[in-house]
């Protein structure tokens, strides 16, 4: 008797063990191949000389050249300035959204998010169209304003980083314990004093995280400096010049490592900071109710309108320019710019959409598996897998892209089979944005209390049955939002894929860069507009799906 019932148990135990081992491998193998191996390849190459010998010559050559040192100092100067200003603007904006009673908040938030929906060079394109040599200002007023260089990069990357910072700081300011504010007022604190003693300390971890994330975003941004940097070289453009311009791969690898350092340090500090960010809000907390204050609200509204107008002017200029015959000489309207005749016409747009769909679907699968394995199947491997999963946050897109060349552009490597295909572009995008996607997926998995698994198991449900009946039905909205996140990033990404595209599978965002480089500014604007329309269209459709299924509490923008 005992034997007859033992058999099926043993079989089900073994198959469940196999499923778990299989899933762990499904998470571990791609993370190793597509994150660890390319980084190893770039590290190796940076220590390899052109004659094949090993040493630190590449580095010493780099640091003994004053031109290169100047580029490093440029990079830091502009990144630190932009980070500083971005954080002040974003904090004020987020404060207005969360702690004032100004009208039309959803509208302002949407406008401030616009830079997220376009390739990173669109801000630069907008500033160029307005303030460039052939910009509308210089042409109209006969001025000789020179936007190219520090100021151009500074303005465009500030605008580019703004939505990222606003998202983080809004989250930090969203929660507040009313009791603290009431006690502070009872003790006679002025509003200004309460801000410094209650609000700012409560958001300090969010603030520090935002500082480091913004710094990483701006120092690794490539699109904006390419368009508007002029002679003001920064690390991100330098790496492109060394690799694409002079085919100096070893030096490219060196710059990659140098670029990896500040971003890596920023991310490590950010991780450390966010670990301390907890339990400001307890069960007994009372949510803060915002009371209208005419003077304060007016000031906040003025600031928000000013900021949103700037974003609208820059993005609007690009959209407008796409419908103009010959910017800025002949401002009559036309659709001719949408009749793209160079750089493969519309092919890159379709390639981009196809690549983005692929990124979304594969991204959902890969990231969910990774998050599931790391979160639910704690085993000896998962700590390392967690490290690999969030490592890409510290890896600039260009560095990862360069790593892909070194690692996979080699007929002996099995991945070479898909080298130069859209599939590799999609994979590169997934792993470039793996850290953020992983955090989205982990957050949604954490919503599923572990007692659901236990309750299901106690009721007799198997591992797979629980997945199908409980886990998936609960997390599908979060998975859709994960897919939307990957789709959006894939449509606008530039840095990661710049080294991997080729004429037969060019992407829309890269086309914008190439068109602008070729002087076809209006067509570049038209392409940018198409990208924005596609991204916003996908957002609207997904929002519609969520409305239809009455899904709440799942944000599509992250």
């Amino acid at each position: 008797m005992a034997l007859t019932i033992k058999w099926p148990e043993t079989v089900s135990r073994i198959s469940e063990r196999h499923i778990k081992i299989g899933m762990t491998l499904a998470a571990a193998v791609p993370l190793t191949i597509f994150i660890l191996y390319p980084l190893w390849a770039i590290l190796k190459l940076s220590f390899q000389h052109t004659d094949g010998s090993w040493g630190v010559d590449n580095f010493s050559q780099y640091f003994s050249d004053p031109g290169f040192v100047k580029i490093i100092s440029n990079s830091f100067t502009v990144s630190i300035s932009a980070t500083f200003v971005t954080i002040i603007l974003a904090y004020t904006f987020a404060y207005a959204m969360r702690r004032s009673s100004i009208p039309f908040k959803p509208l302002w938030s949407f406008i401030a998010m616009l830079p997220l929906f376009s390739p990173s060079l669109v801000q630069a394109l907008g500033f160029q169209l307005l303030l460039g040599r052939n910009g509308v200002i210089n042409r109209t007023f006969g001025t000789e304003l020179d936007i190219y260089g520090f100021w151009g990069i500074f303005l465009s990357i500030t605008m580019y980083a703004l939505p990222h910072a606003i998202l983080m700081l809004s989250a930090a300011l969203a929660v507040a314990d009313s009791r603290l504010y009431e006690s502070a007022r009872m003790l006679g604190g002025s509003n200004w004093r309460i801000f410094w003693t209650v609000t700012l300390p409560a958001t300090r971890y969010g603030l520090m995280s935002a500082v480091f994330i913004v710094f990483t975003i701006v120092i690794t941004d490539f699109g904006n400096p390419m368009v508007i940097g002029g002679n003001y070289g920064v690390l991100a453009t330098e790496i492109y010049n060394q690799v694409s311009g002079q085919a100096n791969f070893n030096l490219g690898a060196v710059i990659g490592i140098i670029l990896l350092l500040p971003a890596g340090i920023a991310v490590i500090v950010e991780r450390w900071v966010s670990r301390h960010q907890s339990t400001a809000i307890t069960d007994g907390s009372v949510p803060l109710v915002i009371k209208p204050n005419r003077l304060f609200d007016s000031l906040m509204l003025a600031f928000v309108v000013l900021l949103c107008s700037s974003v609208l002017v820059i993005i609007g200029t690009v959209v407008f320019a796409s419908f103009v015959k010959l910017w800025p000489y002949n401002m009559s309207l036309t659709l001719a710019n949408y009749d793209v005749d160079v750089q493969g016409g519309y092919a890159p747009v379709w390639t981009s959409i196809w690549m983005s769909c692929l990124t979304a679907v594969l991204g959902i699968i890969m990231v969910t598996i990774a998050a599931f394995v790391i979160h639910k199947l704690a085993n000896s491997l998962t700590k390392f897998l967690y490290f690999l999963s969030i490592l890409p946050a510290a890896v600039p897109g260009m560095v990862l892209g360069l790593g892909y060349i070194f690692a996979f552009n080699d007929p002996d490597n099995p991945v070479y089979m898909i080298y130069g295909t859209v599939l590799l572009l999609a994979i590169n995008t997934i792993y470039h944005y793996h850290a953020q996607g992983f955090l989205i997926a982990t957050t949604s998995l954490k919503q599923i209390s572990s007692t659901f698994d236990e309750a299901s198991a106690m009721l007799g449900g198997s591992f797979l049955y629980t997945m199908r009946k409980i886990t998936l039905p609960i997390i599908w909205p979060a998975m859709i939002s994960l897919g939307v996140f990957f789709f959006m990033r894939a449509m606008v990404t530039l840095a990661g894929v710049i080294f991997l595209v080729n004429p037969s599978n060019n992407l829309a965002a890269v086309s914008v860069l190439l068109l602008d480089d070729a002087g076809e500014t209006s067509q570049a604007a038209a392409f940018s507009t198409i990208i924005m329309v596609v991204v916003i269209g996908v957002l609207v459709v997904s929002q519609g799906i969520f409305r239809f299924f009455k899904v709440r509490n799942v944000s599509l923008i992250s």
Partner: protein
């Protein structure tokens, strides 16, 4: 004997969560694991459930060893503190879940779901989703869900802790009646002694991973085997004393005869004298009597039907305090106030002596 736990041990790293526990659980009883947080009671329950593996030991159910059997094959119904109703399913679907896992026929499932929901008086909520129900209702659904597949035993992990006081006492009674009606063996974990005393047939008091005492609620209250149990169950005064000959201790200047000894008698050993507040009596007579001491009233608390008195006395410069409870009627007659000196009688049969 329904379940036989033999020498069960569980470690988490260096911490021994459950330390060589032996316990027999009788068919049809409601047995309660009671102890402070971290005493290992939940871990022990989870090992019986199969949600934690055993480091060593055996769990025998009618002679069959469960130690290696996966949780889903043990056929135990479990109710969690956090309800753990599946939020994506209706109440009816939640109750049907275990039956679907067991591949029951559709019509059997439907009638069983109706039956179970009727049992917990929620038949009109079948189409709602969990978040539309109150905490108490959700926990009753969780009970119905756990009982639907006709489990061999019911495991309750702090089932009432998340509920507010009124709902808690109502549900306490409901669970107990349900359990007795079905005659189902039930193991409940709680840190709330009131819950344990009112519901359980037997209480297992645990501390630091080990069982300290097993007995009926009356036994563990009336005859706590260690000072830990005495302190943990109910309110207990502890006084520093030294032992004397012939079953007495020296408290201050007086010799006090004690009825219950958990340490061997001997001369001049430091010990602890324990007495419950409700056992302390006011002594009005004027003739000196055994076990009477004089104390000062330090504080009086009015608690409605009773008063609580904080009493102090000093001997050799050392001050000790104890609490006593008096009925309101007695207090009115005696007209006591703070600062008064009174004599109290410590009844021999209600005095325990524990080691230091």
């Amino acid at each position: 004997m329904f379940l036989n736990l033999q020498n069960i041990t569980k470690r988490f790293g260096d911490l021994v969560a459950v330390d060589s526990v032996d316990l027999n659980i009788v068919e049809g009883e409601l047995i309660c694991f009671l102890g402070p947080s971290g005493c290992g009671k939940t871990t022990l329950l989870r090992m019986i459930a199969g949600l934690e593996t055993l480091d060593s030991g055996d769990i025998l159910q009618n002679g069959e060893n469960l130690a290696k059997m996966p949780e889903r094959d043990r056929n135990f119904g479990m109710v969690f503190q956090s309800y753990s109703l599946f939020p994506n399913m209706t109440i009816g679907k939640n109750v049907a879940y275990g039956l679907e896992c067991r591949k029951w026929e559709r019509h059997q499932i439907d009638s069983r779901v109706d039956e179970m929901l009727a049992l917990v008086n929620l038949e009109d909520q079948v189409g709602k989703i969990p978040s539309q129900l109150s905490g108490g209702q959700q926990q009753r659904v969780a009970l119905a869900r756990a009982l639907a597949p006709k489990p061999l035993a019911m495991l309750l992990d702090e089932p009432l802790s998340a509920l507010d006081a009124k709902v808690r006492s109502a549900l306490r009674l409901e669970i107990r009646k349900l359990q007795q009606g079905l005659g189902i063996t039930t193991i409940m974990v709680t840190h709330d002694q009131e819950e344990a005393l009112t519901m359980a047939d037997r209480v297992v008091v645990m501390n630091e991973g080990a069982i300290v005492q097993v007995g009926s609620p009356f036994e563990i209250y009336d005859d706590p085997s260690t000072s830990f149990v005495a302190d943990f169950i109910g309110t207990m005064n502890f006084l520093a004393v030294t032992t004397l000959d012939d079953g007495a201790v020296r408290l201050g200047g007086a010799a006090i005869k004690c009825g219950k000894w958990s340490i061997g008698t001997g001369l001049d050993k430091a010990a602890r004298l324990a007495v419950r507040p409700e056992d302390i009596r006011i002594y009005i007579g004027s003739t000196p009597l055994q076990n009477v001491i004089e104390v000062e009233i330090d504080w009086i608390e009015f608690l409605g039907s009773i008063y609580r008195l904080n009493l102090t006395f000093e001997f050799d410069g050392k001050k000790q305090g104890l609490k006593s409870e008096l009925s309101s009627t007695l207090m009115r007659e005696l007209r006591l106030s703070v600062g008064d000196y009174i004599s109290i009688l410590l009844p021999e049969e209600h005095l325990w002596v524990y080691s230091q």
